[in-house]
Amino acid sequence: MTRVAVVDYGAGNLVSIARALQAVGSEVALARDRAGLDGADALVVPGVGAAAPAMARLRRHGLAGPIRAWAASGRPFLGICLGLQLLFEGSDEDGAATLGVLPGRTVRLDGAPSLPHIGWNQVERRRDDPLLAGIADGADFYFVHSYAVRPDGPGAAALTLAETEHGRRFVSAVGRGRLWGVQFHPERSGDDGLRLLANFVALADDERDSAAVSRVPPIGARRADG
């Protein structure tokens, strides 16, 4: 069974993400410090709220360095909401410097008819990715946020998996190899959300198998169940 470490740093509701990951057949361990990552096949960083207090808590728990190293290593990683935003270089919300694994910043969702952006909205595919296998282009996912990431530099377009419109278009999912981040909450997005998490767990499982078989490169998309 795929073992998923969910980072617990006091930034929001872990119950729903833990239960959703269990519902798709993974074993969940809450990671409160560096040792909590030991033995994990995949890492999930959830979170709601502002970047500065979240970074402060990660540092206090000795987790900022290990999370950055994990995300940079190419091992399976999923950032959700604030967990996606922390992957970038900094946040305009409070000026915090964040993990800097991906190029770009978190910026306010200007021009939105209402903020926070709360509710179900469409996730429009910009390129195919095994994380979104079996999910219709334009499927609805549940959002709760006022800021969104803006990937920057030459790799920005390749990083963008999906976009969503709320006043303006913003990046709602990114991916690079086995590193993914989503602005929406798959754990609160019904069947499609569970499908995304099942895909993530299956991809992490592939990774574990291929690592066991003498470092054979990962074999692309394995669909969860069609």
Partner: protein, 274 residues
Amino acid sequence: MLRVRVIPCLDVAGGRVVKGTRFVDLVDEGDPAELAERYARDGADEIVFLDITAAPEGRATMLAVVERTARRVFVPLTVGGGVRTVPEMRDVLRAGADKVSLNTAAVRDPELVRRCARRFGSQAVVVAIDARPVVGGPIAHGRPADRDAARRGSWEVVVQGGRRPTGLDAIAWAERVVAAGAGELLVTSIDRDGTHAGYDTALLRSIADRVPVPVVASGGAARPADFVSAVREGGAAAVLAASIFHRRVHSIANVKAAMAAAGIPVRLGRGVAA
């Protein structure tokens, strides 16, 4: 495009779903977790549990219900009733709820809204406003009632299921709790609750025009057309109903189909016909 949410509300007492007319004559309608799961399958965009007894001794029962539901329902879950303090709200969120709805406790202690929003974020704080039309002119609540208010109508906030008037003007109260950090308002026309007379769209519109946060329409839904009116005329961002869903008078899919036909953006998931 952001969807208008359709939300079934489950009134919970003693660990069971109940429904009565105007909060009395309660009838047992089933197990909360089971009903919530059925609704999620039928396309519910969110589930609301209201602990209508809200007695201190019932808190543990309600937490157990939330916990049980959160294991099998993967859409947002809002819980109202019985939360009076920040630690009580924390317990409900830890049990698996995404939002907590404050009603009587906010009227008694308006600063509670601010404290909860500061601790958990505005997105987790809903204020439920039960309102009743004022006959014979608007409430002045400390300043002269203006002519506009007299023309558009005026509503008073009531608590304890409508049994106790508060003297608060519903629109002014809505503005006040939003300023304090409420991320959403659940506006119930208490006289229409359970009557199937349709939503009070004038009340909804009066509040929706004054606050930037989503207004959830509640109280009186009977036909799919009522849901359309709540959005079109009332300006609601979400529509909530209880008995018509519990008694299978209309399915969530029916309601969504009617809304979609009227040009309202709704989420049409698996098993929901467009």
